[in-house]
């Protein structure tokens, strides 16, 4: 073990109060950044979850559609135009829209209806917990998520309610399909979705295009744009990015989360810088002694940077544990905090950079040290 490391470690634990203050600062900062970034990732996932789970190569949508939840409508004739293009295997209409759900008790709550051609399987519910997808073809059949049972006033399979004065019956139950808008998703057949949302029979929100085995996506896309007017044709990745940008930055939600994360970094940097600076100041005599003994400045910088790194490791370890608890606590909420391996690595690097960056003030102080001060102290 390098002696510079030992000295840094001992200096660090020598003053426990200061160490605690440093670690609290780092933990506070990193937990704040973790929560903000975790919310950002969770939000990012939730706003694109429908797009991610749709089975489509290309999305045909009205020009100017901003996100998946945008209820602009296409003409269903466009579906047949799409099917006429060489390379298109399937063109599946999807209808979305808000509607009012009337519980057996008479209470009303808004729901977000998602209707798709269930035989073609364009946008079906996933994570089925009860019932079968095929059951949704039955009259009045809908699928809801179990996390919304209370909101919808249902207790499971077979429960009944009304949408737009038309009876519905829960035929399938999913688990964990939550909406960031907190409005429950209700899946059903596309024709019933039209009826429940008031979309005319010749309209649809999207046409999901599946390509044949040897189809050239670029050529098909070009052909789609040429054959159908006033539409956009996006790949799944492009539509995901557009939705993500709209919700994260178009609404300012993502910017607010990132600003919170930045605030966390600033707070952490200031706290660590302050404590490292005061620690260095307290040990100035020792650093002057090292300098008098002929140590290079780099050796002293190493001691300070080791202190910063040790603070980072201790602080990050505790923050990671707290972050794990927060993740578990929010797992079943409308906006779960998501922590990915990449985020963990990124947060660790951020902690290290923040702590080492914080040591600059201390290093500047040591740079000015006069070794001759050992004779006067």
């Amino acid at each position: 073990m390098p002696l510079a490391f030992t000295l840094a470690f001992r200096n660090l634990i020598h003053d426990r109060l200061r160490l605690i203050a440093t670690v609290i600062g780092i933990v506070f900062s990193i937990v704040l950044v973790t929560v903000q970034m975790g919310l950002y990732l969770g939000f990012e996932r939730m706003v694109t979850t429908m797009i991610d789970h749709a089975s489509a190569d290309l999305w045909v949508m009205p020009r100017g559609t901003k996100c998946f939840e945008d209820p602009s409508l296409l003409n269903t004739r466009d579906r047949y135009r799409a099917l006429s293009i060489n390379g298109v295997a399937e063109a599946i209409p999807v209808v979305i829209g808000f509607a009012d759900w009337r519980m057996p008790s008479g209470e009303m709550t808004p729901v977000f209806v998602i209707g798709s051609d269930l035989r073609a399987g364009g946008l079906q519910p996933w994570n089925l917990a009860e019932g079968r997808i095929e059951a949704l073809s039955n009259p009045k059949a809908v699928a809801v998520d179990r996390t919304y049972f209370d909101r919808l006033g249902v207790s499971g399979l077979g429960a009944t309610a009304e949408i737009r004065q038309q009876p519905v019956r829960v035929a399938a139950v999913t688990s964990g399909i939550r909406s960031f808008t907190t409005t429950p998703f209700v899946y059903m057949d596309v024709d019933r979705a039209r009826a429940h949302t008031g979309v005319p029979a010749d309209k649809a929100t999207y046409v999901l295009v599946r390509l044949g085995p040897d189809a050239d996506m670029v050529a098909v896309r070009r052909q789609l744009l040429s054959n159908i007017s006033d539409v956009e044709v996006l790949t799944t990745a492009e539509f995901r990015e557009r939705s993500r940008k709209f919700w994260l930055f178009g609404t300012g939600a993502g910017a607010a989360l990132l600003a919170g994360a930045l605030l966390g970094v600033i707070v952490g940097t200031v706290i660590v810088a302050q404590t490292l600076y005061s620690s260095t100041k307290e040990h100035l005599n020792e650093f002057a002694t090292l300098r008098a003994m002929g140590s290079s400045r780099r050796y002293i910088y190493n001691v300070i940077v080791w202190q910063a790194l040790l603070s980072a490791v201790i602080g990050f370890s505790i923050a990671a544990l707290i972050g794990q608890v927060v993740v578990q606590l929010t797992a079943a909420t409308a906006l779960p905090i998501v922590i990915t391996p990449e985020l963990i690595v990124g947060l660790f690097l951020l902690t290290v950079v923040m702590c080492v960056g914080s040591s600059v003030a201390a290093i500047v102080q040591v740079t000015r040290i006069d070794p001759a001060m050992v004779f006067t102290r």
Binding site: A292, M293, G294, D370
Partner: protein
């Protein structure tokens, strides 16, 4: 014995600037030889510490030249001076300046670590240095577990472990009682003889005279005289006592009559130092 380890020629040093400018050293010339223990004595404000700082490559002179083991400090930057200190100079301080969070071994090892010595070898050498100063049984002790005398021995071990040619000590016994002060001087005297170090000790304390091969007296930034043992030491002792009285530290001394060409260490009856001399 006569090989010059450190040479200062016409060294002048101005401190401060403008109206506050003070000539701390006025053309001081001094040579330190290997195997020779030199005392630098003088009243407070005489320039002892400034001279020590310049000889120890911590300050650069305003004028004059300093050569450390043949290397001139002229034009040297802070890192060059640090390298000279690292390679050639060991320091012993009045208040020890040990690292409170490190064991005795690690305190000594630090002097080797800054030189980039591998840990294992450095640990062995550090223990040997501690054994040399009589602390083989306290290698794992922390400074707070050591007496003042023991702490100063650790500091001496730290100064000698790197095999530097020069050891500069600033009032090494001032914070110690008589017995410990004598023991420290005994060690410094032994390592001077056995290892051929050039040792310069800044002190107010005339009780250190018996350990000296040579005494240099400084006053008002100039060397006032230099004696090598013998009857001159007695005069020097009186001068030092007078200086100490002038600087308010005179109560510590008890004059002794010293005879013989070379003063033998350990013959004086060092009384406990009751008041610490003010450093310049």
């Amino acid at each position: 014995m006569t090989e010059p380890m450190l040479e200062a020629v016409n060294v002048a040093k101005d401190l401060g600037s403008g109206a506050a400018k003070v000539a701390a050293l006025k053309g001081v010339s001094l040579t330190l030889n290997g195997g020779e223990l030199t005392l630098l004595m003088g009243p407070s404000g005489s320039g002892k510490t400034t001279l020590l700082s310049i000889l120890g490559c911590m300050l650069t002179p305003t004028d004059g030249t300093v050569r450390v083991c043949g290397h001139s400090t002229a034009g040297a930057g802070p890192e060059d001076l640090a390298l000279l200190r690292r390679e050639h100079v060991g320091f012993v301080f009045q208040s020890f300046h040990l690292f409170p969070t490190l064991s005795a071994t690690d305190n000594v090892r630090l002097a080797l670590d800054v030189r980039g010595e591998p840990s294992r070898a450095a640990r062995v050498r550090s223990r040997e240095a501690l054994a040399k100063v009589g602390l083989a049984h306290k290698t794992k002790a922390f400074p707070r577990e050591l007496s003042g005398g023991e702490q100063q021995r650790v500091a001496i071990a730290r100064a000698i472990v790197g095999n530097t040619s020069i050891i500069l000590a600033d009032e090494p016994t001032a914070a110690l009682d008589g017995e410990n002060g004598r023991a420290i001087m005994q060690i410094l005297s032994e390592i001077t003889r056995e290892r051929g170090h050039a040792v310069l000790i800044v002190t107010h304390d005339p009780r250190l005279l018996p350990f000296a091969d040579r005494v240099v007296h400084i006053e008002d930034g100039s060397i006032m005289g230099e004696e090598r043992g013998g009857a001159k030491m007695q005069m020097n002792s009186r001068q030092s006592s007078r200086s100490n009285r002038q600087s308010g530290a005179g109560r510590t001394t008890r004059r002794r009559k010293i005879a013989g060409k070379r003063l033998r260490p350990g013959v004086s009856s060092l009384a406990p130092v009751r008041s610490r001399s003010r450093r310049q």
